[in-house]
């Protein structure tokens, strides 16, 4: 049995939701089920993720959705590595008949409440970071970005190219938090936050929730929306992934992240090649992860990702429309759940003004550094 995504649900992304995280989770999950055209009671699986208890557990969501039962309830303490991984786990449960309709969600008052960007991650590696002022996740990604740019012969302007290209998409995305156009000149004029990153290299934190509904392809064919087939799903942590989410000290090569390690298996499982991809949604808590991801997945040659973006290749009329929602940089930080949802909308042909002309195959990634996950979604 093959699994597919049959619906997506969002709340508004805002600076201050004025709602509880549970209410946000409930609303996004309810919207995803309604989008698929299913009755709520058909849901029998809920999977969510959180960092430092910033979300609500699946059992609470099942309670407020008044579900008759859960056959799968999973709460994972993970960050941006999670969304594709959890969709893959949900797909496996569906494929083996252990659940029929599984919601995968992320909910957070990520702006007005606990903010992941400045959150201190308790963990075995924390003692080596926070006391010395190495105390925000963007510093860790910036550390990789610096080495990546140096070693691949790229520079700040290549990061800027990502921010500018993605902002262009956001100008027509009503969900996006940052919608004002951005030029490279404006980008260059921004002060550094943590060099080499400026504000526009960083995701914008928001309050909100996003959910997708995973079911079997057979069932999805009878539902309201065209199915987005889960053609392949892979999670990968490389060797020595560290002591916790912020500990990268034992990683060898900061110019290659998990995308380099999982690409062969991902494409192999789907019987596809990187050249078959029509749309890419690359996890982008920070601009550099788009460049590393494009190169790691083999969507462009090593050292050419900045030029690739600057050439217009990632724009709507380019060879590979990428981060068509504006990415986490512009749409907002729903921790990559919205990255998956955007890929679903694209594959379904529901991208509206941002619809990629060719959209039979989309690649999605989740995660930035040592570990992460990816999906290949195909038109049903």
């Amino acid at each position: 049995m093959t699994a597919a995504i049959a619906g997506v649900g969002y709340t508004e992304f805002s600076k201050a939701s004025g709602r509880s995280v549970l209410d946000l989770a409930r609303a996004a999950c309810e919207a995803a089920v309604a989008d698929a055209g299913l009755p709520l009671g058909a849901v029998d699986g809920i999977v969510g993720f959180s960092l430092m208890h910033d979300s609500v557990p699946s059992q609470a969501v099942a309670t407020v959705l008044a579900l008759p039962q859960l056959r799968l309830g999973l709460d994972v303490e993970l960050g941006g590595q999670a969304p594709c991984h959890l969709v893959g786990l949900a797909a496996s449960m569906v494929e083996t008949g252990q659940a029929d309709h599984v919601l995968v969600y992320r909910a957070m008052n990520g702006r007005s409440g606990a903010r992941v960007g400045t959150m201190q991650f308790a963990g075995l590696g924390a003692q080596y970071r926070y006391p010395i002022g190495y105390d925000a996740y963007l510093m860790y990604v910036a550390m990789w970005a610096r080495r990546f740019l140096l070693e691949t012969g790229q520079d700040d302007d290549d990061l800027g190219a990502v921010a500018v290209a993605q902002r262009q998409y956001a100008t027509t995305n009503e969900r996006a938090y940052r919608r004002a156009p951005l030029t490279l000149e404006q980008y260059r004029a921004e002060p550094y936050v943590v060099e080499p990153f400026r504000a526009s290299d960083c995701t914008v934190e928001v309050d909100g929730a996003c959910a997708v509904l995973v079911t079997s392809l057979d069932r999805a064919r009878d539902l309201r929306q065209p199915p987005a087939v889960v053609a392949a799903s892979v999670y990968r942590a490389g060797p020595r992934p560290g002591l916790d989410i912020g500990d990268h000290l034992l990683w060898d090569d900061y110019t290659r992240n998990y995308t380099s390690l999982l690409a062969d298996e991902l494409f192999g499982r789907a019987g596809l090649e990187p050249t078959d991809v029509h749309v890419a949604e690359i996890y982008d808590c920070f601009s550099s992860t788009v460049l590393i991801g494009l190169e790691g997945l083999g969507l462009c040659e090593r050292g050419t990702s900045g030029a690739f973006v600057r050439s217009g290749a990632t724009a709507l009329d380019g060879r590979l429309p990428t981060n068509t929602h504006g990415g986490l940089l512009a749409e907002g930080y729903l921790h990559g759940m919205n990255t998956v949802a955007e890929a679903v909308l694209q594959v379904q042909g529901r991208g509206g003004d941002r619809q990629a002309p060719r959209h039979d195959v989309a690649v999605v990634t989740s995660g930035a550094l040592m570990d992460g996950s990816a999906l290949l979604l195909t038109a049903g």
Binding site: T118, L124, G125, A126, Q127, Y128, R129, Y130, P131, I132, G133, Y134, D135, A136, M139, A142, M143, W144, R146, R147, L150, P191, Y192, V193, V194, E195, P196, P239, R240, L243, D247, L249, L250, Y254
Partner: protein, 135 residues
Amino acid sequence: MTEPTPPEPDQDSASFWTALAEHRLVLERCTACGRHRAAPVPACPWCASTGTEQVESPGDGRVYSWVTVHRSFGAPFADQVPYTIALIDLTEGARVLGRLEAGTSPVHAGLAVSARFFDHPSWTELRFAPAPEAS
């Protein structure tokens, strides 16, 4: 200035912090494969051997990467921006984090540095400065 919250050593890491307080940088060396590591862990992350010996390091290494913090994210560091945190590949092969002492500019990959010990009221921080022979 506000003091940062001190590190909270655990059973594995206590020896590292104790040595720093004595202005010594002590690494773990795997007795099976010979690789060095800075943050102490119960087994070798390369070969899983639990055979470990502690070796004192002269603290010489080269910059692998670095970030310069222009906007602080915690009160203790607000009056210290801009400051630079670097990843240092020690001569022994272990990779460690440390602030580069003020005035280390320009920084470049491969810059030769050596360890410095910066005393806080209740703990000692490992920092780095350009090695004398580097200039």
